[in-house]
Symmetry: C2
Subunit: 591 residues, 2 copies
């Protein structure tokens, strides 16, 4: 067969003319093209390699964009982007960064949502299907969701509601037998049973929820997929199509190491080894690694300490070897942040010392559980926030700016912002030893910074700001990662003869009134935090000092969903470089 010129595929219409052998050839070429980009560029490897055939079959059978597909999490949509007018971003290295890693309505009418959190697609699609029914439309509405994402509560809520539609509603369950790491939860035994019986067994979770059910055992076989999708096209009731796919398909090292190749940086296509390999000693120490090492130590010292993740063990530094080392003291509840918090609450109630690690953006799922089941009920659990920083993830779906405003305003919840690795360790050591308070500890960025001079406390339960330098007239309060920047600003000012007071507040949830009272006679207080200003720490200080004559300036991020921004440009735009802060001080006290 002739080679297919991928560049000529401008829309799904171009593949609907193809024969099955041509489609097979297309899948092969897409796979090799994807491998080339992924090995050079990095990205979500396994999820996309496993979905090439299913995505081709979906666009081949359904009349997109009239028929609507919502991809859950949407990190598996590289093949979808290739077929919907964005091929160049995969074939041409100069254009690799033209597309985001998720569906994005501003890129294409084939993308319905900007999605990056899991488990929401079914409910969103159910709403879309309901709107279609209202308007008398006839288009198919399809949600595509992975087996891992099924463990999120909102997926279940969406399935529960979708089952009542009584009209066309197609849920494709892409079962690759993996979450990011292995799956955890009772439903996975049922999925396995269904796979092992070619979809014929009972009990069947999907039938139990009110869906018709179809099964495709060879979910990377175009012919099987096309036949199945044709059989459900224009169906007039809710149906689940369960397809059994292979994560990482076509890259043996990814097929064999599904967790490592879920998401990865550039790698050698033959060996899978990371490119630009550094010797271990050159790699900067990060808080994930530090956390895991520290928790392994704490768990050994005290068999009541347990570490909990909601399906992101790697973020917590717990690779397979460390999970094995931790044994039963490491718990993965699946992609289920609400349950992670509630299970931690139950563990604490039962006398254990649970420590839960979350990606900042994902903990948003569990606000109510933090509030009701932890804080109101005063359960002594510890929560560690990763990537809670403007210097963390910069996709608009994964921003780490919001957790201070979200969590620090919950009563009874102590929010600690360490400024360096020594303080991070000390706060965690204290937190797992006490049994009175619910504590949040935020890693100060990703790359660990050391400060051997940091003043540690034996008890962080009451707010006690560290006045690191005592100056006059001007105070700089730098929370978490911003403390280092404020220190640099203070140094710059000192060089100009302006000696300012420099403060590490440690605690962002309750003010240290005594220290702040001393600042009432100052002329300027500047706060800086690594999060949005609105609802954050600095505004508490501004409010507290509102009746005093001292001027207060709050630095931080604007309340905006930013997308793939430049770290340094954002820092500058927010006036958060040491030079800018120094300049702000000088121009203000000059007035």
């Amino acid at each position: 067969m002739e080679e297919i010129n991928l560049s000529e595929i401008k829309s799904p219409a171009d593949i609907r003319k193809m024969s099955l052998p041509e489609l097979t050839q297309l899948a092969a070429e897409m796979r090799s093209t994807l491998l080339e980009k992924l090995s050079a560029h990095g990205g979500h490897i396994g999820p996309n390699l496993g979905m090439i055939e299913a995505v081709i079959a979906l666009h081949y059978v359904f009349d997109t964009p009239e028929d609507k597909i919502i991809f859950d999490v949407s990190h598996q949509t590289y093949p979808h982007k290739m077929l919907t007018g964005r091929m160049q971003a995969f074939t041409d290295p100069a254009h690799y960064d033209d597309v985001t890693g998720y569906t994005n309505p501003s890129e294409s009418e084939y993308d319905l949502y900007s999605l990056g959190h899991t488990s929401s697609a079914v409910a969103l699609a159910a709403g879309l299907a309901k709107a279609r029914d209202f308007k008398g439309g006839k288009e198919n509405v399809i949600a595509v969701i992975g087996d891992g994402s099924l463990s999120g509560g909102v997926a279940f809520e969406g399935l529960d509601y979708g089952a009542t539609l009584g009209s066309n509603f197609i849920v494709v369950v892409n079962d690759n037998q993996m979450s990011i790491a292995e799956n955890h939860g009772g439903i996975y035994a049922d999925l396995r049973l269904l796979r092992n019986t070619n979809g014929t067994a009972e009990p069947n979770l999907f039938r139990a929820m009110g869906y018709a059910y179809r099964y495709v055992n060879y979910g990377n076989d175009l012919k099987n997929l096309i036949e199945m999708f044709r059989s459900v096209k224009d169906i007039n009731y809710p149906v689940v199509v369960h397809i059994n796919t292979m994560k990482g398909m076509g890259l043996p090292v990814a097929e064999a190491n599904k967790e490592e190749f879920h998401y990865n940086g550039p790698f050698d296509l033959k060996t899978g080894a990371p490119l630009h390999e550094e010797s271990p000693k050159d790699e900067p120490e990060d808080y994930s690694d530090l956390f895991a090492k520290g928790m392994l130590r704490r768990m050994k010292e005290n068999d009541k300490v347990v570490t909990i993740t909601a399906a992101t063990p790697g973020v917590l530094g717990f690779d397979k070897a460390r999970r094995k080392e931790a044994g039963k003291q490491f718990i993965d509840v699946g992609i289920a942040e609400q349950s992670a918090v509630d299970v931690a609450s139950g563990l604490a109630k039962g006398g254990l010392r649970p420590v839960v690690g979350f990606v900042s953006s994902f903990l948003q799922r569990a606000y109510d559980q933090f509030s009701q089941d932890i804080a109101l009920n005063k359960q002594a659990a510890t929560f560690v926030v990763f990537y809670g920083s403007m210097f963390g993830m910069n996709d608009e779906t994964h921003l780490g700016f919001f957790d201070i405003a979200l969590l620090s305003n919950i009563p009874n919840l102590l929010y600690l912002a360490p400024t360096c690795k020594e303080e991070f360790e000390a706060m965690l050591d204290w937190s797992v030893k006490q049994d009175k308070l619910a504590v949040v500890v935020r890693t100060p960025g990703s790359v660990a910074v050391s400060n051997s001079e940091v003043k540690l406390l034996n008890d962080y339960s009451t707010p006690e700001y560290d006045v690191v330098r005592k100056g006059e007239n001007v105070a700089l309060i730098g929370a978490g990662l911003m403390f280092g920047i404020m220190t640099q600003a203070a140094d710059l000012l000192a060089q100009k003869g302006v000696n300012v007071t420099l403060i590490n507040p440690r605690n962002l949830s309750t003010l240290d009134a005594k220290t702040l009272d001393d600042l009432k006679a100052y002329s300027l207080v500047i706060t800086a935090e690594d999060g949005i200003i609105d609802g954050g720490y600095g505004q508490k200080v501004a409010s507290y000092l509102g009746e005093a004559p001292v001027k207060v300036l709050n630095l931080g991020l604007p309340k905006k969903f930013l997308n793939r921004y430049s770290y340094s440009e954002l820092q500058k735009a927010c006036g958060l470089t040491p030079e800018q802060i120094g300049q702000t001080v000088l121009s203000t006290i000059d007035k």
Copy 2:
């Protein structure tokens, strides 16, 4: 048989000596005692009447408090309280208010959590069971959850995790075939199928999730319940015990009108008619009623408008008759706040005009969906917050103080605080007509207030404060319900010759910089909001004005979980009476 002296029942040990006839007699006496209290006092009627036998059987069979029971929502725990040392609060009218309406660890060691939000008990109990396993304990761990609560995503997450425990874990599903109103969702067809087949049918949702399964068809029959609970006591794997109970049992009017008698005020035991009956014209108009009337009108005017609830239609003023009138334009997604927001997002994406009504405290479940699926994706849906007020619900599990801090700090989400019913209607009218913005509208308290002089806008998309009175030197900014109080304070001050500027900010999510700039030369600005100060509206104002010489004072509520507080005492403690505000102004400008 002799009568049982309920007052002699001090703990479950006292009922474990009883014969079955005695237990039956006990149930009858508890029911008549409960009916007496409920008819005089009000409360959760149907849920408790339906659970008397199950609660007796649980405490009879299991060795509480060593065996642990977590009741979901816990508004069905009046019988539990009667058996666990708190009988007097049910037999003696003078002590009716000695107990809260929910489990409460400060009342009794038999109460493990203070719970009032649904669907969390399974995950909490799973954590507790896991802690037991760690410690080598042998006690039974039991979660009791209603069929309605099963639709909440966290219930599913908890079931999913609990199934993996591999040890004693007993989930009692109390199926009374009702949520607060009727159930909605695909799982309810399966529950019906199970009831209709005496628990024998497949598919079986619980088996599909990895549980052994038992069914009790007569869930108000003590003998059946005791036998079943005995059969699962000390079981060494996870099991669901599905019991079929009758909501409202023993009160014919409640059996026949399950929704009306889910929760009710005092009523006539014979007729079910409300006591202290008022003529309709004497009843104060409330925002639930206003909302429903307004939405019925809007839905008639535009068939693209739909109203959505997550299982609390009554809060939205939609009783059965109004739901019928609204027809398919009224959607109930079940107790599933996440799905309510996502379905609204899908509906908006599909071109409809969804309006979702939430109890302030319950919307906490959906923060991530507000952020990601509504705000980030700019879907024009409208959300109405009920009971978001210090004058609303005052149980610690149902506080309405937190939603301003929670929602007003989300980018792209317009948070509007009307001050009276005219403004409430105008904001809603505008919101359902526009298709650009996601909008939150907060009802200003429960009882509707009228202000015929309020200045209405045709467009609320950009912040535009209403400077209602122009004074000098001092500005009072009153958000939502607090505007009325600030107006009274301004009147008091005017009587004393102090003419202040009085502002209705309307918009709590974005500041009106122009109006605030005019205040920089003032000597005092006071903000007042009906929510916690931390993370709220006033702190934004304090931050904005932080560099100006003007003093800023933020009034509102402390960041605390308060329980069954007195409205007037709290108002006074917060300095929020008109007199106090006037006094604050006078003493500040005097300085």
